[in-house]
């Protein structure tokens, strides 16, 4: 078979290996052509065929690669690609093990055919993914079709594109974050751009997009980071604003919110109030402050009291703020595994109530319930609780940090979940993906007093319309992606379930939203070890699963590891995480306890 060497970029060292086929043909470099790059007019000569074999010349020594049976081989006849002077004149006549293939034809090659090819360093996406992502057809007038290259996710893995490549405004555009300019999504165009002098200069100055801490394990011997995928599942708060969200932020009209003159904040507050069926809302910097403001506003007088679940965020993770800065006493009620608590126990708190001296009592619920595994509170329980609160004259506050997740999981509008709550706190900075911000929602009178508390706490941001714009964008565009997050969490859990391992287990019934728990048996592996192992990449793992991926999860107890999916975790990430989890679990299952080193 006659092959031709493709033009290489200058910073990749040229390999001078000579290809010897099993039939002794020497002196020709081999390369299986595949990249149907469009020329300037966006046209290619690619025959209409759905599946291809692609490979690129890489840096590692050649390896034998078996071609699957019945796989057609496509060879491009574009003259530009045959730029090598070693290309023999008979390039159009190819011989593979006695098989005569003419360029332009498509033939089925038998499975016994084994070719020697250089192994690609960059993992090619699977065939379905390529079909989805790669090309888009623009129909011009008449029957003429134009193939336009779409942005390919797998370009992120290419080393020379790391640190600056981002998706552009449209699927056909790419964006250089360092030079701050758009370009057409085409690999050659990107390569041309990253060799430009201005780009190189800016790259030297600019901080790369990669996260700060790069584990030693993923560097090569020269200390250079290899192309690794990071999937951060520690929390859904790590979501960063996308380019479209940033554009919305840039264009927002702002004013001074201290004087209630920021139009974007006002519009966000109105939007959220309407969404939750309440009268008014108030923008605050964080969820902690939102809950604190609600408690302090409700518990305005001396002798107020709060009832919180023992596993609730407000009790466990707000540093006792209710007591510390609010001087409000709180009573604990036991949380049940589904995030609720016993209504009988609640009633029992009020059996000896002194009706002559009423005190303000606020009941706080959390929906979804974080520490119980992202559980959405059952509607029937919510209705019963509201009835009891009305009966006993108690105020009801919903910590709805992930309220929209609950709404998506139950398939009801969020206003239904908080219909009889006197106040709600809602976070935009979690699964919804805004960089920061939360809202306090309630009656107009409540919000007026809450604004005062917010001022005292130091939560009155001035020109925060830019952040409110991110919140508006999130509510308009990202809410629709939340159900995918839930599915992804279940997919990851399912991959663990499929291993049928005893060292790491999951409870599939517990997966309602985007939060998941992995239970470690504490014999072969504990939570900390599992998290550490997931953040490492070993050579054998890389060979086996053909992925270099670092997964970050959070150990919340000695035996429980928590992960949260969010909209930055896409389908291919989930697949990679699943593969890694399976491999790691198998590793734990197979280990000899004494010899295992983390």
């Amino acid at each position: 078979m006659y092959w031709s060497k493709r033009k290489k970029s200058s910073d990749v060292p040229q390999l001078m290996d000579v290809f010897e086929s099993e039939h002794g043909q020497q002196g020709r470099r081999s390369h299986l052509l595949g990249d149907e790059r469009p020329n300037e007019e966006g046209e290619t000569s690619q025959p209409q065929h759905s599946s291809n074999i692609k490979a690129e010349r890489g840096l590692t020594p050649k390896k034998k690669m078996k071609i699957e049976k019945d796989t057609p081989i496509i060879i491009s006849e574009k003259p530009g690609l045959f730029s090598d002077d070693e290309c023999p004149e008979e390039s159009h006549n190819l011989q593979v093990q006695g098989l005569n293939i003419t360029v332009g034809e498509v033939r089925t090659v038998s499975s016994e055919l084994i070719l020697s090819l250089d192994e690609p360093t960059v993992k090619e996406p699977s065939q379905e993914e390529m079909e989805e992502e790669e090309m888009d057809t623009k129909f011009l007038s008449g029957d003429k079709k134009k193939y336009v290259q779409k942005f390919r996710q797998f370009w992120f893995k290419i080393p020379e594109f790391q640190g600056w490549l981002a998706e552009g405004d449209s699927p056909y555009k790419a964006f250089c974050t360092v030079c701050n300019r758009d370009m057409r999504a085409g690999k050659s165009e990107l390569q041309r751009h990253c060799k430009g002098a201005k780009h190189i200069k800016l790259m030297a100055k600019h901080q790369p997009l990669a996260p700060i801490s790069l584990s030693e394990d993923i560097t090569t011997e020269a200390g250079l980071p290899q192309s690794v995928t990071f999937v951060d599942l520690r929390s859904d708060t790590v979501t960063r604003p996308s380019r479209a969200m940033k554009n919305a932020m840039l264009e927002a009209a702002v004013g001074d919110d201290a004087f209630s003159e920021d139009p974007t904040v006002n519009s966000l507050e109105k939007k959220v109030a309407d969404m939750l069926g309440k009268e008014a809302a108030l923008f605050v910097p964080s969820g902690t402050m939102a809950n604190l403001v609600c408690v302090l506003t409700h518990c305005w007088g001396r002798g107020s009291e709060v009832i919180v679940g023992d596993e609730s965020y407000m009790y466990q993770k707000m540093q006792g703020g209710i007591a510390q800065v609010g001087s409000v006493h709180h009573r604990i009620i036991k949380n049940l595994p589904d995030g609720t608590f016993s209504l009988d126990e609640l009633r029992s708190f009020f059996q000896d109530i002194d009706t002559i001296c009423p005190t303000t009592t606020l009941v706080c619920i959390e929906n979804t319930h974080n520490r119980m595994g992202g559980k959405a509170l059952p509607l029937s329980w919510l209705d019963e609780l509201s009835a009891i609160c009305e009966e006993l004259n108690l105020l009801l506050h919903a910590d709805g940090a992930r309220l929209i997740n609950a709404s998506v999981a139950l398939g009801v509008p969020p206003s239904r979940l908080v219909a009889r709550c006197h106040s709600v706190s809602l976070c935009l900075n979690k699964g919804l993906g805004a960089p920061m911000g939360s809202l306090v929602v309630g009656t107009q009178e409540f919000i007026t007093r809450a604004a005062k508390i917010r001022k005292m706490l130091g939560g009155v941001l001035h020109q925060c319309g830019m952040i409110a714009a991110a919140g508006i964008y999130a509510l308009d565009n990202i809410v629709s992606q939340l159900s995918a997050d839930h599915n992804h969490a279940r997919a990851i859990a399912h991959s663990v379930l499929e291993e049928h391992s005893s060292s790491v287990t999951v409870d599939m019934k517990a997966f309602q939203t985007n939060i998941g728990f992995l239970h470690c048996d504490n014999i072969r592996v504990d939570a900390k070890k599992l998290c550490q192992r997931l953040q490492m990449v070993t050579d054998s793992e890389e060979q086996e699963i053909e992925e270099k991926i670092i997964v970050m999860m959070l150990p919340i107890t000695d035996t429980v590891v928590r992960f949260m999916t969010h909209h930055e975790v896409k389908k291919d990430h989930v697949k990679a995480v699943a593969k890694k989890l399976k491999y790691v679990i198998q590793e734990f299952d197979n280990m000899m306890f004494d010899h295992y080193k983390v």
Partner: protein, 329 residues
């Protein structure tokens, strides 16, 4: 805006109610959009870290912490210094912390405020300070902090004199009390005095500086202090609800402000001085200024109440009459 504006076509609006109204410029917005981000609660946001380092270096302190507002900055600093039960802070009776922060230090922190009479130049008497420090007496709270404000808002944006600051520093050292500076407009003070800001805060154990005022960032303040102070301050920030996530997006505006806007503050001062000079040249008995008191970007117009009240003056400034436009044609 105010209703007086609505009736007028083609009029310019100059908003001088506060320097918090500053909007981010195009360059600042671009800096915000290009900033690398991370989760600041995990301390992984590189832009926030850069801003904090920058501020700490600028004020020659060990560490800094990015907070959403100046109010929270002061609250964190006071609560951080005054940790024991029954503690007290000594501060001026006209200071922002005492008057305009809703008594948060008491309401939230249980700290008692002991006030000293603020003199017209924003300082207070050091003799009074010495007398105010509590003795070990069962009737009395325990003094744990002295708090000053530079520039002093109510006093008209006055800059505290350096000699007084040095004397105060040595007095506090002698008394064993830390000194906190509410430096919301510290950069204005530095620009007016033509000294580096680090010199002004040399004797201060902690400082809170606002980026959202004259410096023009949309949101944000920074507190600086020793490493240990800032580590504990981080906890206080969290409990108050100031732990922001991808806060780098606004920290980037702060960095831009320190780089590009801070050097231009003198221009604001010159503008105010021009206005003050113009009012003073009129020699009016109804509205007058004290030219000596105009140090930075704040101007106080005093009104003779027999003629008009400040509210009336503001209303009139918000209107445009026909004679006025005629005269300036």
């Amino acid at each position: 805006m105010s209703s007086q504006v609505n009736g007028y076509e083609g009029c310019r609006v100059v908003d001088m109610r506060s320097d918090t109204f500053t909007l981010p410029s195009q360059g600042m917005k671009e800096a915000m959009m290009a900033a690398p981000l991370g989760d600041d609660v995990f301390q992984e946001d590189p832009t926030v870290i850069e801003l904090q380092n920058k501020m700490a270096t600028l004020l020659e302190k060990e560490a800094a912490l990015f907070v959403p507002t100046g109010t929270m900055g002061n609250l964190i600093c006071v609560l951080n210094h005054c940790r024991s039960r029954g503690s007290e802070v000594i501060l001026g009776n006209l200071s922002h912390v005492h008057i305009y922060e809703q008594g948060g230090i008491s309401q939230l922190g249980g700290v008692h405020p002991r006030t000293l009479q603020n003199l017209p130049d924003g300082t207070f008497s050091l003799e009074e300070l010495r007398k105010a420090v509590r003795k070990d007496d069962v009737h009395m709270p325990i003094t744990e902090l002295v708090c000053i404000e530079n520039t002093h808002n109510v006093a008209g944006g006055r800059v505290l004199p350096l000699e007084w600051l040095d004397q105060l520093g040595s007095t506090c050292r002698e008394l064993g009390l830390p000194l906190h500076m509410d430096g919301a407009r510290l950069m204005n003070a530095a620009a007016a005095m033509q000294v580096p800001p680090a010199r002004i805060v040399r004797d201060c154990a902690s400082v809170s500086v606002c980026l959202s005022k004259g410096l023009g960032a949309p949101v944000g303040s920074v507190i600086v202090g020793s490493q240990e102070f800032i580590t504990k301050a981080r906890r206080l920030r969290k409990v108050l609800g100031g732990g922001m996530r991808q806060a780098g997006i606004i920290a980037a505006a702060g960095i831009y402000a320190l780089d590009h806007v801070a050097p231009t503050l003198q221009r604001d001062h010159a503008h105010i001085k021009a206005i003050a000079q113009a009012v003073s040249d009129l020699g009016s008995k109804a509205i007058f200024v004290n030219l000596e008191g105009v140090h930075t970007n704040i101007l106080m117009l005093e009104c003779d109440l027999n003629v008009l009240s400040p509210t009336q003056l503001c209303e009139r400034m918000g209107q445009i009459t026909d004679e006025e436009t005629e005269r300036h044609r």
